[in-house]
C-alpha cells in the first residue's frame, strides 16, 4: 500500500534509471525526465507501473515548470531526486585550462537547476512531509585532479542541501554520494579505460531505498555506508 509520488530527474539511464525502477517496484507513482526523448521513452517502458515521462533539459526554466505542472496533476509529491547532472568538459581538463563557458554550464546544470526545481516543488513536499535527495559525489569533498569543475559544482550543491536542511522544518533533505559506478558519465570521465570493475548502479539502490524508506535524518550519506 504505497500511494506515494516521486520525481526523479535524469532517469533515462545510469543511477537515475536504476533508482526510478526500484521506486516503481516499491509502488511509487513516478514522474521522470531526461534530455534524450527516445531514451526516456524506452526507460519509461522499462520502469513500468505508473510513469509520466517529460523530456527536457533540467536547466531550462520552462521544462522545470512542466515538471511542476506534472506534480500538480499527480496530486502532490513525496520525494524529489535531483539526479540529473553533467560531467562538464571531458576528457577532464585541469582548472587552469577549464573552458569558462563550459564551467558555467556545469554550475547551471548541477547547482542552479536542482535548486530552482526544489524551489518550485517545496510547497507540495512540505504539505506531505516529503524529502529531497540530491545526488552528489566524493569529488565534492576530495581534490581529484581534473574534477575541478564537476567537483566544485557538486560541493556547491552539497552546501545548498546543507542550508536547505537548516531552513526547512518538515522536508527531509539528504545529499548522497553513490560512489564510483559503471555508468556512461563515469566512462566519459575515464575515456578508453576499462571501468567494468565498478559496480552497476543497481548495486547501490538498496542503500538509497533504505535512506528513503526509513526517513533517516537530514544529512550527507555515502551509498557504501547505507548498504552496510
Amino acid at each position: 500500500m504505497n500511494n506515494q509520488i516521486a520525481l526523479v530527474t535524469g532517469a533515462s539511464r545510469g543511477l537515475g534509471l536504476a533508482l526510478a525502477s526500484a521506486l516503481s517496484r516499491e509502488g511509487y507513482t513516478l514522474i521522470i525526465d531526461a534530455r534524450d526523448c527516445d531514451a526516456l521513452a524506452k526507460a519509461a517502458a522499462e520502469i513500468g507501473g505508473q510513469v509520466t515521462a517529460i523530456p527536457g533539459d533540467i536547466a531550462d526554466p520552462a521544462h522545470r515548470a512542466e515538471l511542476a505542472t506534472a506534480v500538480q496533476a499527480a496530486g502532490g509529491l513525496d520525494l524529489l531526486v535531483n539526479n540529473a547532472g553533467t560531467l562538464g568538459a571531458h576528457p577532464l581538463p585541469a582548472l587552469a585550462d577549464y573552458p569558462v563557458a563550459e564551467l558555467r554550464t556545469v554550475f547551471e546544470v548541477n547547482v542552479i537547476a536542482p535548486v530552482a526545481l526544489t524551489q518550485l516543488l517545496l510547497p507540495p513536499l512540505r504539505g506531505r512531509g516529503g524529502a529531497v535527495l540530491n545526488i552528489t559525489s566524493d569529488a565534492a569533498v576530495e581534490a581529484y585532479a581534473g574534477w575541478g569543475g564537476y567537483g566544485a559544482a557538486k560541493a556547491a550543491l552539497e552546501q545548498a542541501s546543507n542550508v536547505l536542511a537548516a531552513e526547512e522544518q518538515t522536508v527531509r533533505v539528504w545529499w548522497a554520494d553513490p560512489g564510483d559506478l559503471r555508468t556512461e558519465m563515469h566512462q566519459q570521465a575515464f575515456p578508453g579505460e576499462d571501468i567494468s570493475d565498478r559496480p552497476l548502479p543497481g548495486a547501490v539502490v538498496p542503500g538509497f531505498l533504505r535512506l528513503i524508506g526509513e526517513r533517516l535524518p537530514n544529512g550527507r550519506y555515502r551509498a557504501q555506508e547505507l548498504l552496510s
Binding site: P123, R126, G127, R128, A166, E167, Q169, T170, G213, R215
Partner: protein, 338 residues
Amino acid sequence: MTAVMDFALPAELEAHEPAEHRGVPRDAVRMLVSRGSADSVTHHVFGELPGLLRPGDLLVVNTSGTLPAAVRIEDQLSAHFSTALADGSWLVEFRGHNSTGTSPAHLDRPAGSTVTLPGGAVLTLECPVSWRLWRARLSTAVVPYLLRHGKPIRYSYVGQDWDIADYQTVFARIPGSAEMPSASRPFTPAVVTELAARGVLIAPVTLHTGVSSLEEGEDPYPEPFDVPPATARLVNHVRWDGGRVIAAGTTVVRALETCVDSDGLVWPSAGWTSHVVTPLTGVRAADGLLTGLHEPRSSHLRMLEAFAGPDLLRRCYEEAVRAGYLWHEFGDVHLMLP
C-alpha cells in the same frame, strides 16, 4: 464537546523559573503517578521513573527542539512565531507588552501590510486567521532568523528571560517548536541510561508544537509531525508483545494518534496533523502518558481525560493542588499509567 475540567489554581503553584534555578535538579522535580487499573494516585520524584516502568515498555519521545520564537518588534509589541505552514508562511501571534508581561494583541492592519523586524527582515501580513493570529510571510528563512534574533516565548508567570538551553529537552534534535515540549524536560542522561539498563525502550517522533496561548474553547492548530518507520514498527511490536507504550508528552500522543488505524496499528507518516484527542476520539496507540500539569479549562485536559477518565483525573488534580505541585513548563509532572 464534553465539559472541560475546571479548578482553582492558586498563584503560589505556578513555577516561575527552571527547576535548577530554584535548587532542584531537572530529574528531581515531583511526579504524581496515577494508575487506572489500581485507581490510585501516588507521589514520587521524576528520578524514580525507571523503576515505575517495566522492561519491554516503550517510551516515545519528541525530538523537536524549542525555537527562540518571540521577536520584539517595538517597545510595546512582540511577534510569536507559532507554526510553519506548507506554503512557507507562518502562523504568527502578536503580543502587546504590559507591566506584568504580554497579552494577545489585535493588529489592526490591512492584509498585505508589512512589519519590519530587527535585523531588517520584513514580515508581510498575508491574512488574519483569528483576532490575534496572522498568516504571515518573512522575507528570510524563519528558523535561522529566530535562532539569531528571537528569545524564548514566556508568559507573565515567568518573570525574566531564561537562556534557550533552559528550554531544550535532552531529546531535542530538530529546532521547530514555538514552546518547549516540556514533559521531557526532567529527563537527564542519567535517567535515560537507567531506563536503557533496565530494558525500557525509547523511540523518537517529531512534532513541532505551536503557541499554547489558545483562547478558551479554541482547538490546537495543525502542527507538523513525523512518525518514522522504525518508531511505528517498535510501537506495534511492543503492544503486540504485551508491553506498554508511554507517550512522553501530549505532542507525542497527537503524533501517534494521527497515524493509528482502527485496528490499533501505527503506520509511519509525516505532514501536518489536525487531530485533537478527546474522550470521544479515545486513544488507540498509547497506553500511558507523561505530561506536565495543565491549566484549568485547557484543551489538553480533554486528552488527559481520554487516558484516565474524568473521576481519576479530577482526583489527580485535587491531589496535586493539595500537595503543592508546581504548574507550567518549569514545574512538576504527572505520569498516567494504565
